[in-house]
């Protein structure tokens, strides 16, 4: 296991180094207070104007989409979760994938928003790590509060963007990336992933629960 971890560490350091070389001077530090305000506002808007609002399902989906697209850096997230196959994709494929990924993300959240009606989110702290800020919160639905961390990065021009949601110390970004890697390995690379996500999107649109991949 340690071998694997060490290799991972090396790979990480390598990736970080490569980034430093490729993107000189783009690193900007988001400050913790601004990031905390950003997350608080995002969560409040989601609860008051989307989840809790007395609006039609259609309207709810529209509002959620607007909020999500504004708050999250979807292109950067999409590139990250696809991983190394991203480099091999054409511009057109990338663009289509970002749209698809955005649809699937929105549809998976939207279909069960009702369950979060009584949700309460309390921001409890924030800390900075290089250019990113991790905003910590406790989310209560029923029962025990769940720790959720919101990872925020600053873009040029000072705009803040959400890049990861960490639920009980589980990074959604990493979890999604691992799933996508598996789909690509088992089922025809990047194109296979696009097929799987398209199927998922269509199922979600049709109001069906997505079917798991066939085993084997």
């Amino acid at each position: 296991m340690f071998d694997v971890i060490r290799r991972g560490a090396l790979a990480l350091r390598g990736a970080a180094l490569a980034l430093l070389l490729v993107l000189p001077g783009t690193a900007q530090a988001a400050d913790t207070e601004a990031a905390t305000r950003f997350v608080t506002k995002l969560v409040d808007t989601a609860i008051n104007d989307v989840i809790g609002a007395q609006i039609s399902h259609r309207e709810r989906e529209e509002r959620f989409r607007e909020l999500f697209v504004e708050a999250a850096d979807i292109p950067a997230i999409a590139a990250f979760v696809v991983g190394r196959e991203w480099r091999g994709a054409s511009e057109k494929q990338k663009q289509e994938f970002v749209g698809l990924f955005q649809d699937v993300s929105i549809l998976t959240w939207i279909s069960h928003l009702d369950e979060y009606k009584d949700v309460r989110v309390e921001v409890t702290g924030a800390y900075q790590d290089k250019s990113d800020v991790f905003v910590e919160s406790q989310v209560r639905t029923q029962g025990k509060p769940i720790p959720i961390v919101w990872r925020v990065q600053e873009r040029q021009g000072g705009q803040l963007k959400l890049i990861d949601v960490v639920i009980e110390a589980n990074s959604m970004l990493i979890n999604t990336r691992k799933q996508y890697a598996s789909v690509m390995r088992r089922d025809g690379g990047f194109e296979g992933l696009v097929r799987a996500l398209t199927r998922m999107r269509d199922d979600l649109r049709a109001g069906k629960e997505p079917q798991p991949l066939p085993e084997g």
Binding site: G8, L12, L23, A76, S171, R177, K178, Q179, A181, L193
Partner: protein, 261 residues
């Protein structure tokens, strides 16, 4: 006992004890290299996972849901506390084996306080004075001793594990004095009581996972991998004696580097 649930044990709050030496090497717990699945038996594991999920859907999960929905919360809490208290010998043994004597003392103190003032363990009285549960098992001890987890393993009915934690789970059962009392005691009720305890443990461990697993199943393209990743991340926290609310150190856990755009 790992239990019939798909995650060995729900995440338990543990104080940031003295960090074991492991945290140094295990630091970037989330190797971002997507190929390091460390799952050579994946096809078999997937088939067993699929079987487990089906069995769970018709047995343990409905029982756990009924338990959650119909047994009042104070009763469930009392049962949970009592089950935790009964595990004290295992927690104690493993803090000792890990050379973590400060925490051994906490386990002992908790056991005495909760068994008396806590009415046989039903109330976690010790937690109110700051002595929170130190959840340990032999798999964690092996990890602290430097034993790697080995490849991912999916056991029929017992759920996800790995060679190290499998050995650990067996050791936990046989190192438990209550197991031997249950097996050998001349007292007629000892056996049934032991099995009742194991049964309740299964249900008690499954309850906090009802919603997270449903959520994960619904939102994943590959549920098997989603669970595998979640299990590993949680286990890493347990070994490092962290709770999900604790901040990971630089570069570890979810503080991996993400490209700046």
């Amino acid at each position: 006992m790992i239990g019939f649930s798909f995650v060995p044990r729900s995440l338990r709050r543990a104080s940031i004890g003295a960090l074991c030496a492991l945290s140094l090497t295990a630091a970037p717990a989330l190797a971002v290299d997507e190929d390091d699945a460390n799952d050579p038996l994946e096809p078999v594991n997937r088939a067993i996972f699929s079987f487990n999920t089906t069995v769970d859907r018709y047995t343990l999960k409905p029982v756990a849901k009924g338990y959650r929905d119909y047994v009042p919360e104070p009763a469930r809490k009392g049962i949970h506390n009592a089950l935790v208290n009964l595990r004290s010998p295992i927690d104690l043994l493993n803090t000792l084996l890990q050379g973590d004597f400060d925490r051994s003392l906490i386990v002992l103190k908790r056991f005495v306080v909760n068994s008396t003032a806590g009415i046989g363990g039903l109330i976690d009285a010790a937690a109110e004075t700051g002595d929170v549960r130190q959840q340990e098992d032999f798999g964690q001890t092996l990890a602290v001793w430097g034993v790697g987890e080995g490849p991912y393993l999916m056991w029929p009915l017992f759920g996800p594990s790995n060679p190290r934690d499998t050995v650990g789970a067996v050791a936990d059962v046989v190192s438990d004095p209550l197991f031997w009392i249950g097996m050998n005691s001349g007292w007629d009720a000892a056996g049934p009581l032991m099995w009742t305890r194991y049964g309740l443990t299964l249900v008690d461990n499954r309850v906090p996972l009802i919603d997270p697993l449903e959520e994960l199943e619904r939102t994943s393209v590959d549920y098997y991998v989603a669970v595998r990743d979640m299990v590993r991340q949680r286990r890493m926290l347990e070994i490092m004696n962290r709770s999900a609310a604790d901040r990971p150190g630089e570069g570890e856990g979810y503080r991996f580097s993400f490209p700046q755009s």
